[in-house]
Symmetry: C2
Subunit: 297 residues, 2 copies
């Protein structure tokens, strides 16, 4: 099966300067390391990347920084879905204008309880306004954060209306059966798991890969799982390592913890910074995390 | 009791052109009518105003259109809280630069389950970045939409830190006891009900007024309730009328219904337009609405 997007993709964290502006140089360095560690692509400016805490202008700068540092446009999958449709169009056009054609697109997420028909109309209006045949949209189903779920009928309707554009979905809801149902209903449509433990079973049932936060830390092990799905001798220790790192990253609030662990891995405490409403880990948590980090496989 | 903001304020709906851009001329006309019908202020660009479906640039144009049409800055209370802090700062500064000092400010609403400490940090960072002593912030508690509630301790902490700036709250959660608790804990802090039936009981227990959607339609009756809280002979028929209009507006999805009712009232079917993910009422619903509208008191 050939997918428009597949493999191990990192929901890249965004490092910050002391004034909480994005640290563009360190971000570019992080992107290069992720690719060196085995990521196929970098899904920057997602939930883990604190994208919705950045302005439109900052989001453009972050994408441009990765490109200017030599990351290929084909390896970058920015999040471009925001609450206001015209700004989703603006961010997506900006990506296309810079040679980046794959984007992860949240539905408009302010209003809740909206109908499938309304979410369909919002996506359709955005895709038609962009009007670019290069565009490849990965839908983003993360109801625990967006509070706007993407149902199976809605997904099918979007694929039917825009078969060359709506090419995949990042499913971060954690329900393997839902991902399998999407993959079974739409062969060739790229279903990407948002949670590391689901990468292997999803690959075994027609999935395309993953976009996960833990790949900020251990892309090599995720790559081992992806490359050797049938080789238990390789997959089992890799999966055990992934599970241990993931469990630690979920011991505290996830986004600041992932960032703090990147800081521990790279020796740069600047990674502890997050933008409100996220808060950095408290000193006692950081000390505890450092101890547990040292004992990780 | 003197409040920084009080009275009957309209969560103004935003009319759209056929291309779903804001109809600035009709919006200005709507604002003038609302004031003529008795509104003390116009809380434009809130949830009813579909604010989060408009770009930052469109939001600025909408506020400027009201000012250019001669509405006084002191009568306008725009919503300026968006998901990204820097853009909340930008919108609020834009309002201040145009002589508009009172704003309704949502907390950052993409991330869910964030701590009070995190929401506090987000508001504090925004208020400090604006750094303008003219600013009067009305917090916005609408957990059924934002999914980021503002707790009583958080409200108290913000008032304590910014006593001259954090002057009120729009409470749209519909829980009178919560509004009364805020008013009792913070005399002089303006508690504004987001629901019409709560205006009278809230005024009777230390509240300052309301910001409601129904005032797009029947500001005169809300004004009667506000001006004559102790005169049952005036309040009872006004409240009965409010309840009937409100019940009809809640018979279908609220925002398109409020807009369609403004259209019926003013004879302009352009008001039926909404921006996705909202959808206009279906033809059969519109026909039914028109019949029921004609029978309203």
């Amino acid at each position: 099966m050939t997918f428009a997007v597949s493999g191990v993709n990192c929901a890249a964290a965004t490092p910050l300067n002391a004034d909480l502006s994005p640290d563009l140089g360190l971000f570019a360095e992080h992107c290069h390391r992720l690719l060196a560690e085995g990521c196929h692509g970098i899904a920057l400016l997602g939930t883990t990347g604190e994208a919705n805490s950045f302005s439109i202008a900052e989001r453009k700068l972050i994408l441009e920084a990765a490109l200017e540092a030599g990351i290929a446009g084909d390896q970058l999958i920015p999040g471009t879905g925001v609450a206001a449709g015209p700004e989703t169009v603006e961010l997506t056009r900006h990506a296309l204008d810079h040679g980046v054609s794959k984007v992860v697109m949240l539905p408009p997420f302010y209003y809740k309880g909206v109908s499938d028909e309304g979410v369909y109309a919002a996506y359709a209006r955005i895709i038609e306004a962009i009007g670019d045949s290069r565009l490849k949209v990965i839908l983003y189903h993360i109801p625990q954060v967006s509070a706007v779920p993407l149902s199976l009928p809605l997904i099918g309707r979007l694929i039917a209306a825009f078969p060359d554009t709506v090419v995949g979905i990042k499913d971060s809801a954690g329900d393997l059966a839902n991902m399998q149902a999407i993959a079974a209903a739409h062969p060739g449509f790229a279903v990407l798991a948002g949670a590391d433990p689901l990468l292997l079973p999803l690959l075994q049932s027609g999935g395309a890969g993953c976009i996960t936060a833990t790949s900020n830390l251990i892309a090599d092990s995720l790559r081992t799982v992806y490359d050797h799905t049938d080789d238990a001798a390789l997959v089992e220790p890799a999966q055990a390592r992934i599970n241990a790192w993931r469990a630690l990253s979920n011991s505290y609030v996830q986004i600041p913890t992932i960032k703090a662990m990147v800081g521990l891995k790279t020796g740069n405490a600047g990674w502890n910074r997050v933008r409100p409403p996220m808060l950095p880990l408290a000193a006692a948590q950081l000390a505890e995390l450092e101890q547990k980090f040292a004992a990780l496989p």
